[in-house]
């Protein structure tokens, strides 16, 4: 297991380097740079040239990418062109905010998605099943930005239960954190919960029709035990696979949601960096997200082997 994990971590390094190279190429292919954004429509060619010189954008592309990699190997992701602070500092400051809301959202997704999927499967073809299917369909159909705005109108303007936006760190005020993080987390979770409901329901239906479940029931084991001990364990395999994907979608979905709710997380950071062509921040942000997703995939793969000992992987023990 340890060998396998180390091997996967080593494999991730070239992937990270290749992804950052592709990201560098793509963002430089798009017309416009930070100088254009900073200078605005009234900037003269001389203004733009000076801004590029100030920002180091007048360097040839190959020098810029080599500088990026040279700094990267020293743990330095560069300095944001617009914020004027080290990218690493910005990413480290923002990531706990996004990760916190993503985990909150993931918990909501798992609780609602798994529960609804299991209940629907256990009540196959009854009204509860149909209601769960409709819930799942609504969940996967609603755009999260629309849902976010509707929630603001309902829960903030009309009911006055939650603030319209902003962010309070958990360490500063846990209740304040829940108040500011709940609507963003729900907006992100609903789509994923719908997806998870559908997968859990179909997997559970398939598992419940297996011979070993029939055998367990024939032995007189209680239904709770049949579902909780025998069926659920086998439902978890596809669910764990999907959870990896869900977390990655939650991270990418944070760009829109954080902008709407005025939350200073990685999503807002990256969204603004893209809009303002802040190359080091885009590269640093993508590098961080890529690393996080690779790590997540490795965790999921390792979990497979824990959940199902039949799975043997190269390098595994």
């Amino acid at each position: 297991m340890i060998g396998y994990t180390i091997s996967r971590l080593l494999q991730a390094i070239p992937i990270l380097l290749i992804v950052s190279l592709i990201a560098f190429g793509i963002i430089h292919l798009i017309p416009g740079d930070a100088a254009t954004v900073i200078g605005g429509p009234s900037a003269t060619p001389a203004d733009l040239a000076r801004i590029r010189e100030n920002l180091g954008l007048d360097q040839p592309l190959h020098i810029q990418i080599l500088t990026f990699y040279a700094n990267l190997f020293q743990g330095d992701l560069g300095r944001s062109l617009l914020l004027g602070i080290p990218v690493t500092e910005a990413v480290l400051a923002r990531s706990p905010i996004t990760i916190g809301i993503a985990i909150y959202s993931l918990v909501l997704t798992i609780v609602f998605g798994l529960a609804t999927g299991i209940i629907a499967a256990l009540n196959h073809n009854r009204w509860i099943d149909q209601a769960a299917t409709v819930f799942a369909l609504i969940g996967v159909s609603l755009p999260n930005f629309w849902l976010a705005l509707v929630m603001i109108v309902l829960f903030s303007v009309h009911l006055g239960w939650l603030p319209t936006g902003g962010y309070v760190p958990f360490t500063q005020n846990p209740i304040g954190w829940f108040r500011t993080a709940t609507m963003p987390a729900v907006a992100l979770a609903l789509l994923q919960a719908g997806l998870l409901t559908r997968i859990t329901r179909s997997t559970m239906l398939e598992v419940l029709s297996q011979d070993y479940i029939r055998t367990a029931r024939a032995k007189g084991i209680s239904e709770w035990r049949v579902v909780g001990r025998h069926a659920l364990a086998n439902v978890m395999m596809p669910v764990v696979t999907v959870l990896g994907l869900i977390l990655s979608v939650l991270l990418s979905g944070s760009i829109v949601i954080e902008t709407i709710f005025g939350i200073p997380g990685i999503g807002a950071l990256l969204g603004n960096a893209i809009a303002s062509r802040d190359y080091p921040m885009i590269q640093g942000g993508l590098f961080f997200i890529t690393a996080a997703l690779l790590l997540l995939n490795i965790v999921v793969d390792v979990l497979y082997t824990s959940l199902d000992p039949r799975i043997r992987v190269t390098g595994g023990k």
Binding site: P31, V37, G39, T44, L83, P163, Y167, G262, N272, D278
Partner: protein, 528 residues
């Protein structure tokens, strides 16, 4: 020649005959004092702000915050007249080449250090090295600080509009401590001399300012006017929250989480106007909705094709779509009431004449070549203008098509590419507000946003533009402005569609807030 404090004389300020008289009568009024103090004023910003380094930033969001922290030697008042700010007196040598500024006594930075001419010199040095939009310094030969309270600027040639240019606030030459001015672009600590001092900045979240107790107000004008005059921090703190999603920003105003909301969308105005505790304030002449053709790409390299495009346009339809009805038609590159306002060339504006357009196209030998309208969806006014204009051009027999990119890409394409687009959409707010020379600078060499071949612009226009800056009297300058504007219309260097207004929402407990081109939080207090 020693110039008085207050609004600068007409020979330099170059505005209406009322300007000096208005200033004099204003001086006789009681000076502003906060009727009440205290509280945290929360402003909902429409755009994110990335930096408070005002020398290196053109964004309105930065000015909205930074201009409450920093001050300049000379700044604009409400009517855009140049007014002494950190300068106490300004004198001009008889040959018009040397401007001597003496500084106001007793002014200190937020770090407690007294303001001296060494700080002014260092700030000007920094602006010269890293500043953006430095057109005001083009005519400057050099500067020096002969003593602690004197700063001298020498020009290479006489420019009667120099103080007008120096007080431009597109990228204002704000004064910071010399040690901050020594820092690279984007890395200063925002320390100024203004009524509010910096507390904290959390990017994409908020900026917090607090009253600077050591602030020495400028007594030039008895109350806040533009960025000038007697400013006072009535509230204890100001929090600028970045709420870029309009729906969320309006909701925050309705719930009272913020006290001032920048830019209320037209669709929300009726609802907010009927919301208890909320009041809408309007800045009527906020921005010109404008676009410009590409003179380097066919078929808009042909003057007759450009004139055909202009002839086909119905500005009412375009402005209605662009603003949902919040507009005024305006055949000028200036707002009505401004010193340089002229309607020269108005016969070319709002012709709505497709038959005339067809005649011009036939004369031009137009052969259905595509006319690419370069726009974006981030700014609905630009996108909707392009949609309606495309339909109008098509109705007049032109093969108009949209090219929709995101704003930075569209802007960069218009700046860097001479092919692949024929017309670009934007809006000019501060550019237009700041008067004649500033409003047409984007059409003169070397700016040339309309992309003339080899970046050499129309010689007649350039000559007229030079005359705006060099004219000795206001009459000469106004005449030159009218001439330049007429050429801009006739040659179709840019097309001003009309004026867009801007609405801001405030909670009714907020007193003293007046909408301006940038958000000002001085002289604003809470009703008790």
């Amino acid at each position: 020649m020693l110039l008085p404090t207050g609004k600068l004389p007409l020979s330099l300020a170059a505005f209406t005959a009322c300007a000096l008289l208005c200033g004099t009568s204003a001086l006789a009024q009681d000076a502003f004092n906060c009727p009440a103090t205290g509280g945290d004023l929360i402003v909902g910003m429409e755009a994110s702000m990335s930096s408070l380094d005002q020398h290196t930033n053109t964004s309105s969001a930065t000015r909205n915050v930074a201009m409450n922290i920093f001050e300049t030697l000379v700044i604009r008042d409400e009517e855009m007249n140049p007014v002494a700010d950190l300068a106490d007196t300004i004198s001009v040598s008889d040959d018009g080449l040397t401007y001597t500024f003496t500084l106001r006594e007793g002014v200190s930075f937020h770090n407690g250090k007294p303001l001296t001419s060494a700080d002014v010199l260092a700030s000007f040095d920094r602006y010269r090295d890293v500043g953006i939009n430095r057109a005001s310094l083009d005519v400057v030969e050099g500067w020096e600080a002969p003593d602690d309270m004197t700063f001298v600027i020498t020009l290479v040639r006489v420019q009667p509009t120099f103080l007008e240019s120096l007080s431009s606030y597109t990228v204002p030459i704000v004064i910071m401590p010399a040690e901050e001015a020594a820092k690279p672009a984007g890395q200063i600590d925002p320390i100024g001399t203004g009524p509010f001092e910096f507390v904290e900045f959390v990017p994409d979240s908020h900026v917090r300012l607090a009253r600077y107790d050591g602030y020495v107000p400028n007594e030039t004008l008895p109350e806040l006017s533009g960025f000038a005059g007697r400013k006072q921090a009535c509230v204890d703190t100001v929090t600028f929250r970045m709420l870029t999603e309009p729906g969320a920003r309006m909701a925050a105003l309705e719930t009272g989480e913020i006290h001032i909301a920048e830019n209320v969308p037209t669709v929300s105005q009726e609802r907010l106007a009927n919301t208890e505790g909320v009041e809408l304030l309007r800045l009527q002449n906020f921005a010109l909705n404008i676009g410009y053709p590409n003179w380097s790409a066919p078929p808009t390299d042909n003057r007759l094709v450009r004139q055909a495009m202009l002839a086909a346009l119905d500005m009412e339809e375009i402005m209605e779509a662009a603003t949902d009805g919040a507009y005024e038609l305006n055949a000028s590159f200036q707002f009505p009431g401004q010193g340089y306002y002229s309607t020269a060339g108005e016969e070319f504006y709002n012709q709505a004449d497709p038959d005339r357009a067809r005649e011009l196209l036939a004369e031009a030998g137009y052969n259905n070549e595509p006319i690419v309208l370069l726009t974006n969806q981030q700014f609905p006014s630009m996108y909707n203008s392009a949609l309606v204009m495309a339909a109008q051009l098509q109705a007049a027999g032109m093969n108009a098509e949209l090219r929709v990119l995101d704003w930075p890409t569209a802007l960069a394409t218009s700046e860097q590419e001479t092919q692949g687009w024929n017309f670009f959409y934007t809006f000019w707010a501060t550019v237009t507000a700041q008067g004649g020379p500033t409003s047409l600078r984007n059409l003169a060499d070397p700016n040339n946003v309309y992309k003339p071949v080899d970046n050499v612009g129309d010689p007649d226009f350039n000559a007229a533009f030079d005359a705006i800056e060099a004219g000795e009297t206001i009459e000469e300058r106004r005449e030159a402005f009218a001439r330049a504007q007429e050429i801009a219309f006739e040659e179709v260097m840019a097309i001003p569609f009309g004026i867009m207004s801007n609405a801001q929402g405030i909670r009714t407990e907020v007193e003293g807030f007046v909408p301006f081109y940038n958000t000002r939080v001085s002289n604003v207090w809470f009703a008790q």
